[in-house]
């Protein structure tokens, strides 16, 4: 087993263990921190796949943005030091069974399909290539989805402000 494979298995184990702890931890703040570790491990997996730009986006948006947002909202809405309630035993067992069965089924289906790797051709995922194709108007360009998603982000931003705005009391 080469060093690269060892790195992959360590990353994979870290991702999965911290994801399990993120969904089972009794303290919500610890759960958020385990989610942070899991997302960082996924960024490491992207680095391992030599997709540096996706890894950078993962760190900037998820670790730097979404997890910080989640931690802020925990501070706003949660009494500190209070444990989350234990899930109902029947529901926990049933969902573990369903999830385990789904996992086994999906993975067996995947094993039966023989993926044909394209060999070790040179990857073209440099930042320059990504930027050029993302904003290109030719046949394989992605400029239309890019514009659509910028409208979506603007709409989401305005929507957040409108939803979270305090309504003024009427007798004032």
């Amino acid at each position: 087993m080469s060093a690269s494979a060892v790195v992959f298995y360590i990353l994979a184990a870290g991702i999965l263990v911290s994801a399990v702890l993120a969904v089972t931890s009794r303290k919500i703040f610890r759960s958020a921190i385990w989610l942070l570790f899991s997302l960082t491990g996924i960024a490491g997996l992207y680095f391992w796949l030599q997709m540096e730009f996706v890894a950078a986006v993962q760190i900037v948006v998820y670790v730097g943005g979404i997890v910080v947002l989640i931690i802020f909202s925990i501070f706003l809405t949660q009494q500190s030091g209070k444990d989350l309630p234990v899930p109902v035993r029947g529901r926990a067992v049933l969902s573990a069974l369903v999830v385990g069965a789904g996992f086994v089924l999906t993975y067996l289906m995947m094993m039966r399909y023989s993926f044909r790797p394209a060999g070790s051709r040179v990857a073209v995922a440099s930042v320059g290539n990504i930027g050029a194709q993302l904003l290109s108007t030719s046949e394989h360009g992605y400029v239309l989805p890019f514009e659509v998603i910028s409208i979506l982000l603007l709409a989401a931003m305005i929507g957040c402000i409108v939803i979270a705005m305090k309504t003024k009391p009427e007798n004032k």
Binding site: M1, S4, A5, F8, A12, L16, A19, V23, T24, S31, A32, L35, S38, I42, L45, L49, Q50, V54, V57, V61, Y62, G65, I66, L69, I70, I74, L76, L84, R91, A92, S95, V99, G100, G102, T106, M110, F115, P117, A118, S120, R121, V122, A123, V124, A125, I130, Q133, L134, H140, Y142, P145, I149, L152, L153, G159, C160, I161, I163, A164, K166
Partner: protein, 104 residues
């Protein structure tokens, strides 16, 4: 990288997806349910990037799909947290069982 077969990466992403599903089933707190949704979206991203890297290394479409998913996930998290904060103002709890006013 070539020593690890693609199915091992797919194992990681499948396991991550079902871990997120387990969290979505068992948690009743809205913020932790949002965390589970983030795990599920990340598992999809791993799939896109791994397929792009292993099967079509000369193309970039998987990268673009994962970038767009990241952007949509950011918008979704922001809107969800705005809704959660508004719900907390009205019900003083973010448990999904507490918000049953529209339940028939």
């Amino acid at each position: 990288m070539s020593q690890v077969p693609l199915t091992h990466i797919l194992f990681v992403s499948t396991a991550l997806f079902f871990i997120g599903m387990y969290g979505l089933f068992t948690r009743r707190n809205m913020i932790t349910m949002l965390m589970s949704v983030e795990l599920i979206l990340n598992s999809v991203n791993i799939n896109f990037v791994a397929f792009n890297r292993y099967l079509y290394p000369g193309k970039l479409d998987g990268v673009f799909f994962s970038l767009f998913i990241v952007a949509i996930a950011a918008a979704e998290a922001a809107v969800a947290i705005a809704i959660i904060i508004n719900l907390y103002r009205n019900f003083h709890s973010i448990d999904v069982e507490a918000a049953d006013e529209m339940k028939f």
